[in-house]
Symmetry: C2
Subunit: 198 residues, 2 copies
C-alpha cells in the first residue's frame, strides 16, 4: 500500500516506518523538521496542503502528538489548548480532511496512549487529549465506512524506560516492535472504530 | 453543603437542582442567561470571575456543555474547536481554577455522556469532547486529593426521547431522576476519578 506516515522521525515513528517498509509498503514520511514532506499538522490549513502534496494514498498513519506534561497546578488554559491542537485537532483533521482524499477503502490509524485510561501525575492534559482521540475514533468510524479509522494506545515503550520509566511505576512497558504491529493490524486488517492496546 | 451548579436552567440542570435542594443543600445556580450568577464558562477568564463572585463553596457541579452535532462531512475545524471550548476546556477550568478556591475536601462533578463510548451519526465532536472530559477526570483525581473529581455520563434522557430518541435507536433511555442521583453519589460520596454511568 501507499502509506502517509506522520511523525515518522520520532521514536515511535521510526519503528513504525521500519515495520511498514519491511512489509513491502511504500511509505511517504511527514514531519515538522524531517521527512519526505515537511508539515506541522497542528494547523488545519497545513493538513490540506499536506494532502495536496502527498497525492493519492491508501492509508494514513499518525505517530505524532504534542502535549504538555506538567502538574495540574502548573498547567494553564493555554497548555490545554496546546494539547488539543497538538494531538486532538491535528489527528481529527487528518481524518476529516482525508476522507475525500484517500482510497475508497483506505484507513486512518491515530496515536493515543495509556493515559486515556490510567492516570499519572503531570498527565492530565495528555489524558484529556488521548481520551478525546479514542472517543472520536469510535464515533468517526460509523460515518466513514467503508473507509476505516482506529487508534493505537500504547503504554510506555521499553526503549523509553530509561527516560520516562519513573512516570510509570509498576506499569509493564511494551516493546516498540509490538506497538508497530498494532499499526500493521490497523492498516492491513479489517477492523474499524477500535482502540488497539499493544 | 454549599454547591455551585453550572447549567442550572437546562433540562438536566433543573433536575439536578431539584434533587440537590431536596437533600438540603444550598445551591447557587449559574447560567449564561439564567440563574443567580450569569457567566459563560467557555471563556477561562469568566471562570475566575465566577469563582470570585460565588465565594466559598463545598462542591462544584456542572450540567453544562455545548457541542455541535453534525455529520462528520459537515463538521469544520472550528466546530471541533467550539466543542473543545464549550464542553472540555470549560469544565477543565472549573477544576483547574477551582482547586485553590473550593473547600479542602470539596468535590467537582462534571458532565459527559454516552457518546464517549457509543457512536452515533452526527456525534463525532461530542464524542471527542466527552472522551476528553472522562480521561481528564481520571487523571486530575490523582493530583487534587483530598479534593475529588468525578464525571456523570448518561445516555439519552427518558424525558428527551421525543426530541432526540431517533438518534439513539435501541439504546435504553435513563430517567432524569436517576441521572440526578449519580450527581448526589458524586457530591456526597467518597469516590474520585470515577465516571458514573446512571
Amino acid at each position: 500500500m501507499k502509506i502517509l506516515l506522520i511523525g515518522a522521525s520520532g521514536t515511535l515513528g521510526t519503528a513504525v516506518h521500519r515495520t511498514l517498509t519491511g512489509r513491502g509498503h511504500e511509505v511517504r514520511t511527514v514531519g515538522r523538521r524531517a521527512g519526505d514532506l515537511r508539515y506541522d499538522i497542528a494547523e488545519p490549513s497545513r493538513v490540506a496542503e499536506l494532502y495536496d502534496a502527498a497525492g493519492p494514498v491508501d492509508a494514513v498513519v499518525s505517530a505524532a502528538g504534542d502535549v504538555p506534561f506538567k502538574p495540574l497546578a502548573e498547567l494553564t488554559a493555554d497548555d490545554f489548548r496546546a494539547g488539543f491542537h497538538g494531538k486532538v485537532l491535528s489527528q481529527v483533521e487528518l481524518v476529516r480532511q482525508g476522507v475525500s482524499r484517500i482510497a475508497e477503502r483506505g484507513s486512518f490509524t491515530l496515536i493515543t496512549g495509556v493515559l486515556a485510561r490510567e492516570p499519572i501525575v503531570t498527565g492530565s492534559a495528555a489524558a484529556m487529549a488521548n481520551g478525546a482521540v479514542e472517543s472520536f475514533v469510535r464515533a468517526a468510524a460509523v460515518e466513514i465506512a467503508p473507509q476505516r479509522v482506529n487508534a493505537v494506545s500504547p503504554t510506555v515503550f521499553t526503549e523509553s524506560v530509561p527516560d520516562y520509566g519513573d512516570f510509570f511505576p509498576g506499569m509493564p512497558p511494551v516493546d516498540l516492535a509490538v506497538v508497530a504491529q498494532a499499526f500493521v493490524r490497523s492498516v492491513e486488517g479489517a477492523q474499524t472504530g477500535q482502540v488497539f492496546i499493544p
